[in-house]
Subunit: 108 residues, 2 copies
Amino acid sequence: MPLESLSWSDQEEQIARQVFELAYRRELSATLAYVRQVAATIDSPDALWQLHDFLSAKRHEMDGKYDARSSMLIFVFADLIKNGWISLEELQGLDKEKLTRIAALTRI
Amino acid sequence: MPLESLSWSDQEEQIARQVFELAYRRELSATLAYVRQVAATIDSPDALWQLHDFLSAKRHEMDGKYDARSSMLIFVFADLIKNGWISLEELQGLDKEKLTRIAALTRI
């Protein structure tokens, strides 16, 4: 079954939204901690503009990654697991096929 | 005499370069202090991306403003005085015509 055709029950959509928001808050929190740490120590133009480059890249990445369209969720969750923002266990409640596909995507 | 025709003695070029670097360091230092202050308190995505927007604008502004071509220095110094980064007194040693032109530009 193509991913676009996977149907999401109301309960699954609720789980997905919660985990999605959890991952976003975690990644944002880690980003904030990093920015605070860097900001406290930078003392040169290069370091300041490197922080700017980092924020440009992170914003672009997060804008692209946190795509809540249902057809994208399988990929988004696999990516979030690979990058350590969530665990597969936190997605319990999704049906077995989705979990299997997500787990498979984390291995490639 | 058009500004492009103003000649700069070696001594004047040295004064200009020193004041120019002083202004850059002051503006950078103020920017760093602001970034540290903001970074220590942001707790939302909006605030983080506002910091990014601020850095984008500041970088663009500073890249444009700190233009060390001799033909631009009169304008650059007038702008730096208007924005409080240097004083006219710190440019003492430039010839009277340049100081008069810079002072005039700070009033428009």
